[in-house]
């Protein structure tokens, strides 16, 4: 009897210790984020203003703002997403719904996407430069930058969307089929809405990577910091701007901090927006006639 009690005591100590350890580790991870955010705010908050967000940079970015750079970043992102999303989601639908898991075709596509996911971004940059800028004659432009990013985003978008579709219970497919619904209708009306949260999560990861990308854009969208007139103009992305200010411009630390703060806040906003979007989509599907 006594032995049982001491065992329990020992186990409860161990449980508490492990619990404490997990709390500490979580705290540590959160602390890293808070520290980065704090550092950015400390270094860049004073420089932040409405003028900084809207004005063009002067003196290589030491003064002035990041207006054109924000516009270029958003345009590059838009081009990348408009190109990559339809491709990625249709590929995911094909892999998850139409091709048997064991088929050679599916395996080959999955393998090539895995390889693509492992390619360093600088290699994408070189490929984009050679193919989009030179071979297709798009030059250093927002368009070639966006298309290069689209190639980079494909693996992450496909794999998250495929996982999302596969996670939808098989019973939905069976009952839809038993009601005489076609596969296409099942996919569009049931499976994609059910997978919407995962699709949004994948989209987020993609946007995060795209907004933060530097190396792939160096050789494709270039680093002209003027306001772009069209998609065929060169445009400097925000991450590239930060890199340039921090590495190549003496005295550019404060604007670099401020730009990084803008980038992080932008990512946070996109995050919250996408989550709300997924939630709203689900609700609309449930509520609508």
């Amino acid at each position: 009897m006594l032995e049982v009690i001491t065992m329990d005591k020992w186990q409860s100590y161990r449980d508490r210790f492990i619990q404490l350890l997990i709390y500490c580790l979580v705290l540590l991870v959160s602390a890293v984020f808070v520290w980065i955010l704090f550092d950015l705010i400390k270094g860049g908050w004073s420089h932040l203003s409405w003028e900084f967000l809207t004005q063009s940079p002067f003196d290589a970015g030491r003064s002035g703002g990041i207006g054109p750079i924000l516009i270029s970043t958003l345009l590059i992102l838009l081009v990348a997403l408009i190109t990559a999303l339809p491709l990625a989601w249709t590929t995911a639908a094909l892999l998850a719904e139409y091709v048997p898991v064991t088929s050679q075709f599916g395996k080959t596509i999955r393998f090539s996407l895995q390889v693509l996911a492992g390619v360093p971004s600088i290699v994408f940059g070189l490929f984009g430069n050679a193919f989009f800028s030179i071979y297709l004659g798009l030059g250093f432009s927002i368009l070639s930058g966006g298309l290069t990013l689209a190639c980079m985003l494909l693996p992450i978008l496909v794999s998250t969307a495929e996982a999302g579709l596969r996670a939808v219970p098989q019973s939905y497919r069976l009952s839809a089929a038993a009601l005489g619904m076609s596969r296409t209708a099942t996919l569009i009306q049931l499976l994609l809405p059910a997978a919407a949260p995962t699709l949004a999560a994948g989209l987020l990861l993609g946007i995060g990577r795209a907004v933060a990308e530097t190396a792939a854009l160096l050789f494709t969208s270039g680093y002209v910091d003027r306001m772009p007139d069209s998609l065929l103009d060169s445009g400097r992305a925000l991450a590239l701007h930060i890199f340039d200010l921090a590495m190549n411009v003496p005295g550019g630390d404060t604007p670099a901090y401020a730009s990084a703060l803008v980038l992080v806040v932008l990512l946070l906003c996109i995050n919250i927006l996408a989550m709300k979007l997924a939630y709203g989509l689900q609700r609309r599907r449930i509520m609508s006639l």
Partner: protein, 287 residues
């Protein structure tokens, strides 16, 4: 085979006021054995492993046929062969013939969507879509080209009344179907199948995931549906099969493959089975 009408069936044809099943369709009396599904030498294999071997069986129009037998003897496979749901399993191979209304459903020219409209199916676990109650019914209707608003509304009310759900949900048709209780969800699934106006209903243990009261409600509903629909039901609840079925088919596993041992009037299977395996199973001494 005994052609006199079954007593239990006559009772079940009297509609309760709470359920408005509408006028019964004109057809042969419930137990005039007129085959609507003819299964001939049906064998099923999953990736080379035989699940069902040489089943020959007639399902009669307007009757409830219960499929009984131990787990893994191929009852569910048999059921999903009838509406070609096993097409969704890539490794499945089928041989033999299934004729519905005289037409071989495994004929290459068969319109599978139309077939599945004619043959509704209800699963073991209630499977409402994560949509509103209304959209659970309108979605398949729209897929089959029924979109006029007044027609759709009429069908929704009709089928929800048929399953006795109308009074419970008529004021909240636009709330999530998943917010219903298990028994209500299962009745919604039956209503959803009825909305397509099928001839045949396949039911795969429709009560086994429900609590006893909800199970009783669904069971009553099933016996009310007989006569108007041909029902094939898989059940592990022998008492239930005995209560509601007109015919029973007993499956057993022989050499790792499911086989049909005996088929006949429910009363015969339960009271005077010809096969000793059947007798042992229904008496509870085997299986």
């Amino acid at each position: 085979m005994n052609a006199t009408p079954d007593n239990s069936l006559q009772n079940s044809c009297n509609c309760d006021d709470a359920y408005t099943l509408g006028p019964l369709q004109v057809g042969p009396p419930c137990c005039d054995p007129q085959p609507v599904i003819q299964v001939e030498n049906l064998s099923l294999q999953y990736g080379g492993k035989t699940a069902l071997e040489k089943v020959t069986l007639d399902i009669y129009r307007g009757c409830i046929t219960a499929l009984i037998g131990p787990s893994g003897c191929g009852k569910t496979s048999f059921l999903s062969a009838i509406n070609r749901l096993i097409d969704l399993i890539p490794t499945c191979q089928i041989s033999g013939h299934i004729r519905v209304d005289g037409e071989d459903i495994y004929d290459p020219g068969t319109n599978v969507q139309a077939l599945r409209r004619k043959i509704g199916m209800v699963f073991q676990k209630p499977t409402p879509f994560p949509l509103s109650i209304r959209r659970n019914i309108t979605l398949p209707l729209r897929e089959h080209g029924i979109t006029q608003r007044h027609k759709v509304e009429a069908i929704i009310e009709q089928v929800l009344r048929d399953v006795g759900l109308w009074d419970e949900v008529c004021d909240r048709l636009d709330t999530a179907a998943l917010s219903l209780s298990g028994g209500q969800q299962q009745r919604l699934c039956i209503a959803r199948a009825l909305a397509l106006n099928p001839e045949i209903l396949l039911m795969d243990e429709p009560c086994s995931a429900l609590d006893p009261i909800a199970s009783g409600v669904v069971e009553d509903l099933i016996s009310r549906l007989s006569g108007r629909y041909t029902i094939v039901i898989v059940t592990h609840n022998l008492a239930q099969a005995r209560r509601i079925a007109n015919y029973a088919a007993f499956f057993w596993i022989k050499e790792r493959a499911g086989q049909l041992v005996e088929f006949g009037h429910c009363r015969h299977i339960f009271e005077s089975p010809t096969h000793e395996l059947t007798a042992a199973y229904v008496n509870g001494s085997r299986g």
